[in-house]
């Protein structure tokens, strides 16, 4: 039987050889991948982060919609962010518009992928690119405008981007 560790080492070696042959500088850091999931009143909220002895901790939310949450210096920071995120999710869940909120987020993620495919696969005319930028600016303004007229409901932590 091929032991689990032997298989992982072998796969790691194959990936490393291929990436090095592509010109990449590969550093393998041993660590443990954490998959965490919570049931927030019927909605699964899932996270993944890598914990190791050196470097930062990269936290990602996988569900209900994917989001790169950020890189953190310590495990405590990661746990703290998850705690806030969960509290915010629980709070948001009380809203009647929760499902709408999830749907909009999924659409935004999809939009990002659509845009990436657009500029990676097509030669986009300048006029069209400017049109997209204008629409995004408009969307941004709409978000700020909505923020200004909406009541703040979470005070444990300040927003990261607004």
């Amino acid at each position: 039987m091929l032991l689990k560790k032997q298989f992982l080492d072998l796969e790691q070696d194959i990936h490393e050889i291929k990436l090095r042959q592509m010109g990449g500088d590969v550093e393998v850091i041993q660590g443990i991948m954490h998959y965490v999931s919570f049931d927030v009143e019927g909605t699964l909220v899932k996270y993944v982060y890598h914990i190791n002895k050196k470097g930062k901790f990269f936290l990602q939310r996988r569900a209900p919609y994917p989001l790169n949450v950020g890189a953190y210096e310590s495990q405590e920071d990661v746990i703290d962010i998850i705690r806030h995120d969960l509290a915010q999710m629980r709070n948001a869940k009380k809203s009647k518009k929760f499902n709408k909120f999830i749907e909009i987020n999924k659409n935004l993620n999809c939009l990002m992928r659509n845009f990436e495919d657009l500029y990676l696969y097509y030669n986009v005319p300048r006029q069209q690119a400017e049109k997209i930028e204008e629409t995004i600016d408009h969307l941004k303004n709409l978000i700020y405008e909505t923020k200004d007229i909406s009541e703040r409901v979470y005070f444990e932590k300040d927003p990261d981007t607004l």
Partner: protein
């Protein structure tokens, strides 16, 4: 409890443990641990005596070499050599098979076989992917080469490590007595593989060119560490060559090399010690206790008397019997527990008869190591390669391998028989 009851109990525990090891239903270390503990629990062997039966020379040699290899493999030297060799062949698959088999055989003569195949397999898979060919011929060639190459030296295969440790035969004794037949067997095997895999090793010229795009220098991860590692490995191998003359055990040489490399490489000892195959180390420890318990009960001596009765103390008959039984048994069973049992048996034959048992050690080493090539379960390297192929959706069946491995194993044991007969048994 009476002596005869204890003897029967010891045989029962031993046979049941070995049976479960063979069946692979439970992890071999787990069941060997359980069997060894039962031997102590039932007072078949006392705890102090059980600890005395552990051969710390074997354990020390294994741990020392594992530390050196774990540091050495971080340098990327194996990938470098494999890619460089593949480029020298200009992408010709048959020559790549020849080159990688040669590297595997030489490496496994100096390192353990599983480590060798785990080091060469990733490069092989990347190369065969680039050439768009089935990796199976190259991987089978590596299994055969690893087991053949490992036969040549004291440190190449666990059975040889155990034999060397228990008998006092040195590194150079193994090379002088085993390397010549191993070289012949390797050449014959590779020659036969050319005919077996002829049809599968064709590649279009444009794919061959892909191999030339590989850059072996990109495989090297840490040049300073590579220089230190290769220097220490060279000193260690020199130490093995001289250990009989400087009156130093091979385990001492390996552990000295390992500690020196750990010191000068400044690698994280926590990571290096984590990489040691502790399951294998503890498997050896528990096997020594299991066999020690049988020895304690006089079972091994009784079997030795039986063997002498059958062979009438005839060296030729005894030698060939050990060679062929070891060969065929090792094709189906784990050769480590087999050799662990055979060592005290041959020692008892030596004590009870007037036979010079030195040739019997070579018969055991050749049979146990080469026999591993017979089937997919014959040696750890085979099992590991089969696992790698399966994970890469190239599953090789037991019979598929046996059709190639078993005849080649019989040929290699045949060559060993001729060698043994001419040089030791005639």
């Amino acid at each position: 409890m009476s002596g005869s009851f204890n003897t029967l109990l010891a045989i029962g525990i031993f046979v049941a443990t070995y049976g479960i090891i063979i069946s692979e239903k439970i992890n071999r270390t787990t069941i060997a641990f359980f069997g060894a503990v039962l031997m102590v629990l039932f007072h078949i062997i006392g705890l102090d005596k059980a600890i005395e039966t552990i051969d710390f020379h074997t354990i020390g040699l294994l741990i020392g070499m594992m530390i050196i290899v774990n540091i050495l493999k971080r340098t990327g030297i194996f990938e470098y050599v494999a890619i460089k060799s593949a480029k020298l062949t200009k992408g010709d698959p048959w020559r790549i098979l020849l080159m990688l088999s040669g590297i595997t055989a030489i490496s496994s003569a100096l390192l353990d076989n599983v480590t060798t195949v785990l080091l060469i397999a990733p490069v092989t898979l990347v190369i065969t992917e680039a050439l768009e060919i089935n990796p199976m011929p190259l991987m089978i060639a590596q299994i055969l080469s690893a087991n053949i190459g490992g036969t040549a030296t004291l440190i190449g295969d666990p059975p040889n490590i155990m034999i060397g440790s228990e008998t006092g035969l040195g590194f150079m004794d193994f090379i002088i007595n085993l390397a010549p037949p191993v070289l012949v067997i390797f050449v014959v095997t590779i020659f036969l593989l050319k005919f077996i895999f002829k049809a599968q090793l064709h590649v279009k010229d444009e794919l061959k060119a892909k191999i030339m795009d590989f850059d072996e220098h990109r495989a090297l991860k840490d040049k300073s560490l590579m220089i230190k590692s290769l220097a220490v490995l060279s000193i260690t191998i020199l130490g093995f060559g001289l250990h009989q003359f400087i009156h130093m055990e091979t385990a001492t040489v390996a552990l000295a090399g390992a500690s020196l490399l750990l010191l000068i490489s400044k690698t994280d000892p926590e990571e290096i010690f984590h990489e040691i195959e502790w399951l294998t180390i503890f498997f050896f420890i528990f096997l020594f206790i299991l066999v020690g318990a049988l020895e304690e009960m006089g079972v091994i001596e009784s079997i030795a008397k039986g063997v002498i009765n059958i062979t009438q103390g005839n060296l030729l008959f005894t030698g060939l019997l050990i060679l062929w039984i070891s060969g065929v048994a090792s094709a189906f069973l784990d050769n480590i527990p087999f050799v662990a049992t055979m060592i005290p048996l041959i020692q008892s034959i030596g004590k009870l008869s007037s036979i010079d048992i030195t040739p019997l050690w070579w018969a055991l080493a050749l049979g146990a190591c080469l026999g591993g090539n017979g089937t997919l379960v014959g040696a750890s390297a085979n099992v590991v390669v089969a696992g790698i192929l399966e994970k890469h959706r190239r599953k090789i069946s037991f019979m598929e391998y046996m059709k190639i491995g078993f005849p080649l194993m019989l040929i290699s044991i045949g060559i060993a028989t001729i060698y043994m007969y001419i040089f030791y048994l005639m």
